[in-house]
């Protein structure tokens, strides 16, 4: 595949948010995680998925976009004229009984079966902990219970490892059949959106497969940034660029570029 340079000026985060938004179908219930997913949900809601419902772990359900830009889900505009303000247990119950179609989570370390670590780098034994990360938050719940979940993260060899040091949020475990065996009812990871491309999962083996590369990125680059021999789809495509409309909306949602890194010129 020829390397195609980006044709429009946008930041890597803007491309990732746009890719995340495309994973949301109209009318779906979306469990919205921290950071980039906040923007992805609002972008989808403002474009192709106006009937999507947003569910937030703080105890918020919204069927309209927040009336003003927000940096985090607890910002007061995200509470104003919500569809429901409730307890964390109640919104997690909506998730657990199977009413959430798709969720989004970020990660620090991921493996070939989509298991995600946001807790301990190194190990858990005293002296073995190299880096303590913030932990699960709601991520373990979203990965366990949502109809499907989308992982968003930076693509680096030290983050894409054969086996994560600690499973904070379960993917497909050690492969096909594992989720059913341990009792998980959620569907598992559907995609990993990274700084280099989009990866999906082989339904037969639960293994990650490169599906598309971002404009200007080569398959070789992705392979070199992955810590195991990554499988590549027969037809690798190019991740679609954000449209001018999507960029305009994102810059309205995040005017300072806090999450997208966009700086007005």
């Amino acid at each position: 595949m020829a390397i195609e340079a980006p044709t429009r000026v946008y930041t890597p985060a803007e491309l990732m948010v746009t890719a995340a938004a495309r994973e949301i179908g109209d009318g779906e219930a979306v469990f919205v995680g921290m950071r980039l997913p906040l923007l992805g949900f609002q972008l989808a809601k403002s474009t192709h998925a106006p009937r999507a419902i947003g569910v937030y772990e703080l105890g918020i359900i919204r069927n309209t976009p927040a009336p003003e830009p927000i940096l985090t889900m607890g910002d007061l505009p995200n509470l104003c004229r919500a569809q429901w303000l409730a307890d964390t247990v109640e919104v997690m119950s909506v998730l657990q009984r199977g009413d959430v179609d798709v969720s989004f989570i970020g990660g620090a370390q991921v493996d070939r079966f989509g298991n995600l670590n946001t807790s301990y780098i190194g190990g858990i034994a005293p002296g073995a902990i190299e880096t303590r990360l913030p932990g699960s938050g709601g991520a373990c719940d979203l990965a366990s219970l949502a109809g499907r979940h989308i992982i968003i993260m930076t693509h680096e060899k030290r983050r894409f490892v054969p086996r994560v040091d600690y499973i904070t949020s379960p993917g497909y475990g050690d492969g096909a059949g594992w989720r059913r065996r341990v009792g998980l009812t959620g569907g598992g990871p559907a995609a990993v959106i990274t700084t280099l491309g989009v990866l999906r999962f082989d339904p037969d083996t639960g293994e990650m497969v490169l599906a598309s590369v971002h404009p200007g990125v080569t398959v070789e680059q992705v392979l070199a940034s992955t810590g195991w021999p990554l499988r590549v789809a027969a037809q690798v495509t190019q991740t679609p660029e954000p449209t001018a409309e999507a960029l305009a909306i994102l810059r309205r949602l995040d005017p300072q570029g806090f999450w997208t890194g966009h700086r007005a010129t």
């Binding site: 921290m34 937030y56 772990e57 703080l58 105890g59 918020i60 009336p67 940096l71 985090t72 889900m73 607890g74 910002d75 007061l76 509470l79 104003c80 004229r81 303000l85 409730a86 307890d87 964390t88 247990v89 997690m92 657990q96 807790s119 301990y120 858990i124 005293p126 002296g127 902990i129 190299e130 880096t131 303590r132 990360l133 913030p134 932990g135 699960s136 938050g137 709601g138 991520a139 373990c140 719940d141 366990s144 219970l145 600690y166 499973i167 904070t168 949020s169 379960p170 475990g173 594992w178 989720r179 341990v182 009792g183 998980l184 009812t185 806090f258």
Partner: protein, 303 residues
Amino acid sequence: MPTTKLVSLRQAIAQFIPDGSTVVIGAGLESCIPFAAGHEIIRQRKRDLTLVGPISDILFDQLIGAGCVRAVRAAWVGNVITGSGYSFRRAVEGGRIEVEDHSNLTLALGLRAGAMGVPFLPTRTALGSDLFSTNLSLKTVTCPFTAERLTAVAAIVPDVAILHVQRADAEGDAHLWGNFGVAREAALASRHVIICTEEIVAPEVINRDPNRVVTPGFRVSAVVHAPWGAHPSPVPGHYNRDHEMFLSYQRESQTPEEFAAWQARWVDEVRNRDDYLTLLGQERTASLALKHHALSEAVDYGY
């Protein structure tokens, strides 16, 4: 004659948070976090506390940095809009605090089990995860009816819950609105409840709208008048989130020395919340005020 539970913040913390207490603080996850109470805990040099809360934004990091904490039972500890909390990282990596790793749902269910007076509650979350290896409050069980494999979450019964609310009367009947997080479970599960409130109001203001009561006053041990007591977290109906405070904390807490300077400036050299607000400045507080009001309709509780 109704009894008043109204006390100063200093007295509430001195009386109800002895060293070694297990304390829920930050039950709203991002909103209504009792920062004023947390800072008073630091000023009183409380030690060996166990902190309980799903996500308490930077307050857990501050209490850990100040040396008040022996253990944390939490789903996430850090700075919501920037990521890692440096004091937490250092303390865990240095083996100085214990962590019981929860998810938001398991932490919430632990408190709900405590609130319900049962030893555990079942859930389908976390199966196959490594939370089980760093959290002895989670076990797998087989459902006696369906034979399904489930996660059992042990009840959490804290000594004290500190909740920040919009308004309360002197007996502890309190109104909270916005997202609840785990506030209602925390209040019902804990042996003592300390209510920190933006406003003290007459009992009629509370009992004219009993659906909005977060916990009945008979379970409340102390009521503290604490205007701006949740800053920099947001309080619906009162003030917005002070993002700049979270960003500056990230910049000013990266090393133990930086944290010590932060603590001296914002906690130790501040005697009370009035001093704190003076330090913050009127321009800053004015910028956080609500710019758009959105009132609900009144409802009729008549008969």
